[in-house]
């Protein structure tokens, strides 16, 4: 007997229509713009240029600089967020006084808007008025104030520090949920077998939260790779192009330069680069 699929489709229609309007149409428009010489302030002339925007993007040294910056940004930022988040989750999974309050407070950085976080860190790291220089000099840790956001190395470290502070609560909360799902009997059995703390961590804890770790890492990699707000607020991609990741490069090309064709090509390239991670996430979700 053939199943009637019209009713489920009818129920899905509003969601599909909304997704098409909010996701598929802008995505298709981005691809269309990337194939045209689409400059905001030249509305009368937007000729089809094929792959010229893509070729130009790939020939631009700033693109390759941005790609390398993006890779370092994602690997270091997500790696540190994960390690810090895991440590926080293990700590919050133990019993101690005020644990409830600690669990509530840890999500504060995650709950704050990126722009606010960017401004907080920018002012804390300010060369003249910043808290970090003031404390560093007073405590004798620094001989002179440091222009943290004006040197390429320290500026990149500063934006990574800010995004790690912002993102580690996501791992902490997600991994904590995973830890709480591990049956206590497994730890008791491991103890009976003579396992120490490290053995329990390696053979019980890590396998118990492996699925959560993978999903959280994939999700966070996609978010961090796409994010540009924090860098935009803190350094604007500078000094020079030292902190300019690919999404920021695309944004500045389109928004500041008015070159939406070129900016769209960069966005499409970025999408393809991220597709590997997205597919891995989808496969993982399907299995789950």
């Amino acid at each position: 007997m053939k199943r009637d699929t019209s009713f489920p489709l009818l129920l899905l229609a509003p969601a599909l229509a909304l997704t098409s309007a909010l996701v598929l149409f802008p995505a298709a428009q981005t691809v269309w713009m990337s194939l045209h010489d689409f400059v905001l302030f030249r509305p009368k002339s937007r000729p089809f240029v094929g792959l010229a925007n893509y070729i130009k993007a790939l020939q631009d040294p700033v693109f390759w600089e941005g790609l390398l910056t993006s890779v370092i940004w994602v690997v270091v930022a997500v790696g540190l967020q994960f390690l810090l988040g895991l440590a926080a989750a293990l700590l919050l999974n133990r019993s101690f006084a005020w644990r409830g309050l600690a669990r509530a407070l840890i999500v504060v950085p995650w709950a704050l808007p990126s722009v606010i976080i960017g401004l907080i860190w920018t002012w804390m790291l300010d060369f003249n008025l910043g808290l970090i220089n003031e404390l560093g000099v007073r405590l004798g840790l620094l001989v002179h104030p440091v222009a943290w956001l004006s040197e390429p190395g320290t500026a990149f470290a500063a934006v990574i520090l800010a995004v790690v502070w912002q993102g580690f609560p996501f791992f902490a909360v997600t991994l904590l949920a995973g830890l709480q799902a591990i049956p206590g009997e497994l730890y008791e059995a491991a103890s009976l077998d003579g396992a120490g703390a490290m053995s329990k961590f390696r053979h019980v804890t890590l396998p118990g939260i492996a699925a959560v770790i993978t999903t959280a890492l994939l999700l966070r990699m996609i978010w961090v790779a796409n994010s540009l707000d924090l860098i935009l607020v803190m350094t604007g991609g500078g000094p020079g192009t030292a902190t300019q990741t690919l999404p920021l490069h695309a944004f500045l090309t389109a928004w500041s330069g008015g070159n939406y064709g070129q900016g769209s090509a960069l966005a499409v390239i970025l999408t393809f680069l991220l597709l590997g991670i997205v597919i891995a996430y989808l496969v993982r979700s399907r299995r789950a």
Partner: protein
């Protein structure tokens, strides 16, 4: 009879409503985009006085975030393309080429030629505000001229004369630099092209084909970069210092000199009193000097359906007393001669420094490259040169390529 009564009632109602209908039909709303550096400043009083004088026109004043100029411009372009642009907007020279390319500006010459207040604005300003095609699309509203702030108390302590040449400027900057104080607050972030122009375009570089890579141009640029790289007379944070940092450093006694305009004079005096003063920027002997003329204008947009009403509004803002009141809100200088004569919003020494700077006041060329130059190319390239990632010559070659291919 019933029909007659209904007709009579309807007729009476129509007659009673008629004046309101006529008023509603003739009243037009002019959407006007503006920005003030001080977000608390509001043009409400100016709008109210205009609406009182022009009962048929309503002004919908919309404050648009400035974002260093780039955000404002992009919002204006996107609104125009989306068909949702304002009737009139505050504009600057740097976005004129793009707005002209979009056919977005309405020529104002017909209005200006019959405008009774035309003579209250100097001929120099009218010439400066003419578009490359000779027409006037911009109506002067306010202006500033960049000058050099300096700490006269520190100069006196070291027995230094006010720096009028590049050599005396560098000598003073070196003499006043200590471990926690710097001779010159250089702006390396967006907007710092005005600092660069003073020393490089005022030091022999020319904005014409090949003019950025002549020996004189390269030497002038090296001199500019060496302020930070070699002489260390600028704060270590200079490559990324923006408006706030350069002004705050000066106010906090971290720097001895910086470049800005009368818009910050009252703030400076509030922080430093008589210790601070201003003079025209230094010049290189034998080379025409350069300081930036900071324009502020209003334009009527071509797509507006209420161009005449929009003109009335912007003309009102550029007329005598209203222009003075507007300038008080913006912190800049009025364009009307009648207002300038008795202008006392900033201490006189800063107005004098502005007036003395006018002979060397210039603007970057009205080309589409200028917007790219000021918004992204200049800050990114200059920061790299200030950090030693590229040479000062490579910096100038990048600018030459941008402007002249």
């Amino acid at each position: 009879m019933t029909i007659a009564r209904r007709t009579l009632l309807a007729g009476t109602a129509a007659a009673l409503a008629a004046p309101h209908i006529a008023h509603a039909q003739s009243a037009v709303t002019v959407r006007w985009w503006y920005h003030f550096d001080d977000p608390k400043a509001s043009p409400d009083a100016l709008v109210a006085s205009f609406e009182k004088q022009n009962p048929g026109i309503k002004i919908q004043a919309e404050s648009i975030p400035w974002g260093g100029g780039g955000d404002y411009d992009t919002r204006l372009y996107t609104a125009l393309i989306a068909g949702n642009g304002p009737d009139a907007a505050m504009v600057k020279f740097q976005n004129m080429p793009r707005l002209l390319e979009m056919d977005a500006l309405a020529p104002l010459d017909a209005h200006i030629s019959t405008w009774s207040a035309r003579g209250d604005i100097s001929d120099d300003l009218w010439k400066l505000h003419a578009a490359p095609d000779g027409k006037h699309y911009y109506l002067p509203l306010q202006y500033v001229v960049l000058y050099l702030y300096y700490r006269q108390d520190w100069f006196a302590e070291k027995n230094l004369a006010a720096p009028t040449t590049f050599d005396s400027f560098l000598a003073a900057a070196k003499a006043l630099t200590t471990t926690d104080r710097w001779g010159f607050g250089l702006r390396g972030a967006a907007g710092g092209h005005d600092f660069w122009a003073t020393f490089v375009l005022g030091g022999g570089a020319k904005l014409q084909k090949g003019g950025m890579v002549t020996p004189a141009a390269l030497a002038a640029n090296k001199w500019f970069i060496d302020l930070h790289r070699t002489h260390h007379v600028t704060p270590p944070s200079a490559p990324t210092d923006g408006f706030l940092q350069t002004i705050n450093n000066m106010k906090a006694g971290r720097t001895a000199m910086t470049i800005h305009h009368a818009g910050s004079a009252n703030d400076m005096v509030a922080a430093l009193g008589d210790k601070i003063t201003a003079i025209p920027v230094p010049q290189m002997p034998g080379v025409p000097g350069w300081t930036t003329y900071g324009d502020g204008s209003n334009a009527v947009l071509a797509a507006s359906k209420n161009k005449d009403a929009a003109w009335k509004w912007i003309a009102h803002l550029s007329t005598a007393e209203t222009n003075a009141n507007f300038a008080k809100l913006s912190g800049q200088l009025p364009v009307t001669n009648s207002s300038l004569k008795s202008w006392d919003v900033q201490p006189r020494r800063f107005i004098d420094a502005s007036a003395q700077s006018l002979p060397i006041a210039r603007v970057l060329p009205s080309t589409t490259q200028t917007a790219d130059f000021t918004r992204t190319v200049w800050p990114q390239t200059t920061q790299k040169a200030l950090l030693g990632q590229i040479s000062s010559d490579e910096m100038m070659q990048t600018f030459e390529k941008l402007y002249f291919g």
